[in-house]
Symmetry: C2
Subunit: 672 residues, 2 copies
């Protein structure tokens, strides 16, 4: 197995690695590859059972080898190979069966590499390298004999050390409990799942070829689970649901308020979110036919409050200054410790938090976007209840959270709603007539197209979502109905009946049906506050970083995916940047969870990067207030309306205990 | 804090360690001690809160210091010291308050040493050194400020690293869950329990001075829990109960048989034994007022089948050859993983097994007896359902298990019972008249003493226990009623009516009441088999070791504590040895569990020693059979009755699935 120089040994050249060495005739290709450290897959450990170590005979340019001579310099294919590769296997061979007879060039195709890459989706920043923390290892044990020393575990460990080159190995209690049954059911053949190269987490009889992991994104509004094949990296199923905690408060701070007013109720919020995650796992399991026991690893991202609640930690300290986290580092525990139902030996890795308001979700965004790998300066914005901001590059990275409030999500807006069917999501207003046209989620048509009414989803038009509000206000501004200081201009009432006044002030009616959907003065103010907060956070980070302009902007999350970048610029949500350098990053937090799931090395990477990030607490920075006030106007910051900003209370993120909150009855088993 | 040479620094000499160094004037005695590595206790870390670091000014002979000059060379006692030591504290000082002014000699009394020793009980082999794996550390944190980086855990960890010189520190999920509440309740002062110097397992507000551990002995018949103060080493309470698994079979193999016949029922045996352990823990907690959360560590000993069942591993493989253990190494898991209720961050350490029949209980015996620390050759016998044997010394240690069956415990004996009130435990038979006299557990009087009948426990005489059977048969042998080959001599029937015959053969009536208590031919045979097995095991080990005679014999367990050594010799249970070199080791397995609990270093020691033990599987050794046959006669081995041994079936330890076993109804919460 050792590479030895010498004229009688054969030269073996592997591509794409370029690794080469001399081996004694008769050496198996797989052993030669292992000897050179070539990345080549195998679960069965060279028993011609898994078919993972397929290689191709090829030409070796440097070594001046052609295919014909290469092929002739391997032992002819036997029965075992034909079983996997067909009778006419051509240039394909099994590495564990083909033996070297002379100089040969061997290609290890991507499918046979352990550390393959999952090609990124269009909106994703980079490919994912597959380095699962859990590896499958097939071994065959000798049956024990009377008087032999050591238990079955000791015999398994020594087989794994011998055939798979592991060092010290521990074992989960659950694998230990199953071990004796499993080895006997598999007639002394079994597959062990080894985590981080030092712990046996699970065992199966015989040869086990696939195990799975799930990446979990715990949002305050929605939960999402992606079930992934840990070896291929493929997403085999996904499921999502509303976060059942919503019944204790739409936004994060009202949930914290609820817990402050009802001590001990954090346990209920913990219970129901875990229950909902378990239901999502059950869904993907039922959909795919994957066994629960085949899921051996979880990763979780979520904002600090969600992260605390999933871990069973009360978030009350996150409800008031100084917003102290219980723990800002990653957490790696048995999934069963969190009541999450996967293989009992399976673990859950919760990504680190960055700061009191910048959580594991932002760590996920950071991992997905990898601004620390770039020279140009990125601004990455993840908009939820708060806007989490990352700014920087390879040299330096800053993070902050701006308290936007939930306006961008359609909450606390007169006709606002989440981005679900029935919500107005696109808006155009005629500059002359001030007549609107719009699009509704669930319909492909604009409201002025023939057949629009018939195309509407069941329930018709129900409200307006975040992207619709942004566009509506931007269009109203561009039409002169809303002026630079955010006031609805009552002059317009002369030009159209859509501008009307009620007890609360002026508003613009977009849709005069049931319900009536419009934009009122309060809505404009809410959006102004939110956008000023977000913009001020970005400016603060830019100031600290020492740039006036960023090279690119990435918008993460559902809001970032739906928003029309032009309107975001018109309203001044984001700093000036070339329009084509602004793009959506998709659900980057979820992508980050998936990366942490599939690429074990990414965990150390993100932990290191998170430690290096400079954390800016906007609430502690006096100039944030100045930027905020300056950013209240539409579309640009200006000194002309300072009184406006000062007159309006800043969005608060401090949770206030509420005296009486009606608690919705808890329905077991019904988390959504 | 650093020892520096130089004429202006003061010489400080510590006893009993003899450590000395020079320190700048003003240095605290505690810091000087820490600087020199002197073993001195402190929980509060030098805040004059715990009073643990009390020292005494003394004379330093080598340094020619007298008490007067020593005392004068310390700062005068202040208020804090007087609070702990009284106004007239004399030579006593608090190490964290007394400051060095000149040359001084300081004694650290045993009560102020961390690594003190618990003095052994008379039957115990050695003192126990206190090296608890869990240490209490008091720290004070600075309240967090807005914009400060890191969670409460990070601030706790860095305080522990700064003040207690720890390296990397993890944290249990349960401690993390409580952390924020605890630090605020304690007004930024808290005490952390740190395990093995690398994991925070529990936290309490303010100063916490005592934590506890429990040593658990899981016998097949009885369970015992010893609650110990982890710092003083004192046993503060103990409790015991019958093993509730008894309803599934008196002896181990019948329980395994039950599980083989009722697949999955191992879970029920696991459940009820854990429940019983939890009840015993509750008992000691209620008795002492200790909080459940103050128990942070458990150790468990038990035979392999008990050990497997407590861990939740089916013992079916231990029911038939080759008697393969799932695992023979120690196990260290969260107590909650075994469903044992102590502090949620607390762990349980299960001692290693030695071989398929030689379990963690024998490892406990080995740790308690420490034959590996002696030059003379010890034979240590732990009699239960099997007899576990250890033989050897510093150079070499051998272990085996002899399948004695439960006869020594009074089971499968016509009038046999456990050693509980009402059982005949001592027997004498007049050589002439063949009239017996006996003692009964629960009474102080012999049966021929006046007032005996009135002294009997409620229920009167109920049967005969192991030690009574041994003595009865030995006395019958000495009286000539039983001859050397174990036959009850019918000639005796002419001399006394106590020798009678029924359908099964001759028997001797000890007590002609209700119930009638006697010794029948079958009983003599059962004891012959048991003693031959035990003796043969010892001879086999002696032969392997290469000795004809051992230097000392230690009898462990309840049987060893009750048996009269002379009668054991008469019957030939143990090899020849000077009578005064035979002694009881008490419940050495339980003592071993207590040592593993109190002295963390003992764990590595016993793991290392267990690995080195030569394991002898009696069933695999052909000469065991020869020794067994030779040992059937009374009292000594002899060649004259080989046919006897061959005619009798060897005791079996293979479990046979039983077709129908009536299962007692399970009563929740009622384990005994």
């Amino acid at each position: 197995m050792k590479a030895v120089g010498g004229s009688r040994d054969a030269l073996v050249v592997f591509s794409p690695s370029g690794k080469r060495g001399h081996f004694a005739p008769g050496t198996r290709v797989l052993d030669a590859a292992h000897g050179l450290g070539v990345d080549i897959d195998s679960i069965c450990g060279g028993h011609a059972m898994c078919g993972r170590c397929q290689v191709e005979v090829t030409e070796g340019e440097l070594a001046k080898l052609d295919i014909a001579s290469s092929a002739a310099n391997l032992s002819p294919p036997g029965e075992a190979e034909k079983q996997f590769l067909g009778d006419d296997c051509g240039r394909r061979r099994l590495g564990c069966r083909a033996r070297i007879r002379g100089d040969v060039a061997i290609d290890v195709p991507p499918g046979s590499q352990v550390h393959k890459q999952v090609v990124r989706k269009p909106y994703e920043a980079h490919d994912i390298e597959i380095n699962p923390v859990v590896e499958l290892c097939f071994v065959e044990l000798d049956p024990p004999r009377l008087g032999e020393v050591g238990g079955d575990l000791q015999r398994l460990v020594s087989a794994l050390q011998r055939h798979w080159r592991y060092g010290e190995l521990g074992c989960s209690l659950s694998a230990l409990r199953q071990l004796q049954h499993v080895v006997r059911e598999g007639d002394w053949q079994l597959t062990a799942a080894v985590r981080y190269g030092h712990e046996i987490v699970a065992v199966w009889p015989g040869l086990k070829q696939r195990v799975f992991g799930a990446a979990i994104d715990v949002g305050s509004t929605t939960l999402a689970v992606h079930l992934c094949d840990l070896r291929s990296g493929d997403v085999v199923a996904c499921s999502g649901s509303m976060n059942p905690q919503i019944r204790f408060g739409e936004d994060l701070m009202s949930r914290v308020s609820y817990i402050m007013s009802n001590p001990g109720e954090d346990r209920e919020l913990t219970r129901i979110v875990r229950l909902a995650i378990n239901e999502l796992i059950t869904e993907v399991v039922v959909e795919t036919g994957v066994e629960i026991d085949d899921i051996v690893e979880l990763t979780i991202v979520g904002n600090p409050i969600m992260q605390h609640l999933v871990l069973g930690i009360s978030p009350v300290e996150l409800g008031h200054a100084p917003f102290t986290l219980a723990n800002d580092e990653s957490v790696d525990v048995l999934a069963s410790e969190l009541g999450l139902r996967i293989n009992l030996g399976g673990h859950v890795y919760v990504l680190p938090c960055i700061a009191g308001h910048v959580g594991a979700d932002t760590a996920g965004v950071m991992l997905a976007e990898a601004p620390f790998d770039r020279d140009d300066v990125s601004l990455i914005v993840d908009v939820g209840t708060n806007a989490e901001l990352l700014l920087g590059n390879r040299q330096r990275l800053l993070a902050a959270s701006s308290p936007t409030g939930p306006a961008f999500e359609g909450a606390q807006i007169s006709s606002g709603q989440r981005a679900t069917p029935g919500a107005i999501e696109r808006v155009r207003i005629d500059r002359e007539t001030l007549e609107p046209r719009f699009k509704v989620i669930g319909s492909e048509l604009w409201s002025d197209a023939p057949g629009f009414a018939g195309s509407l989803p069941d329930g018709g038009i129900t409200g307006i979502c975040g992207s619709g509000i942004i566009e509506a206000i931007a269009e109203l501004f561009l039409s002169g109905v809303v002026n630079a200081d955010g006031r609805i201009n009552s002059d317009g009432a002369d030009r159209t009946q859509r501008i009307e006044k009620d007890g609360h002030g002026w508003s613009y009616v977009l849709y005069d049906g049931k319900p009536k959907v419009g934009i009122c003065q309060h809505d404009v103010r809410a959006i102004q506050l939110a956008k000023a907060s977000m913009y001020a956070g970005a400016r603060l980070l830019m100031h600290r970083f020492g740039v006036d302009r960023v090279d690119r902007i990435r918008l993460a999350g559902a809001f970032g995916a739906h928003i029309d970048v032009t309107y975001a610029m018109v309203l001044g949500l984001i700093p000036d940047c070339s329009l084509d350098a602004v793009s959506s990053a998709g659900n980057a937090a979820g992508t980050g969870a998936r990366i942490a799931l599939l690429d074990g090395k990414s965990r150390a990477l993100i932990e290191e990067q998170v430690r290096k990030v400079e954390k800016i607490e906007t609430g502690a920075e006096s100039d944030f207030q100045d930027y905020f006030v300056a950013a209240m106007t539409l579309p640009h910051e200006s000194d002309s309306f300072p009184e406006l900003g000062k007159a309006i209370e800043l969005p608060q993120r401090t949770a206030r205990p509420r005296r009486s909150v009606r608690r919705a009855p808890a329905h077991d088993g019904e988390a959504r």
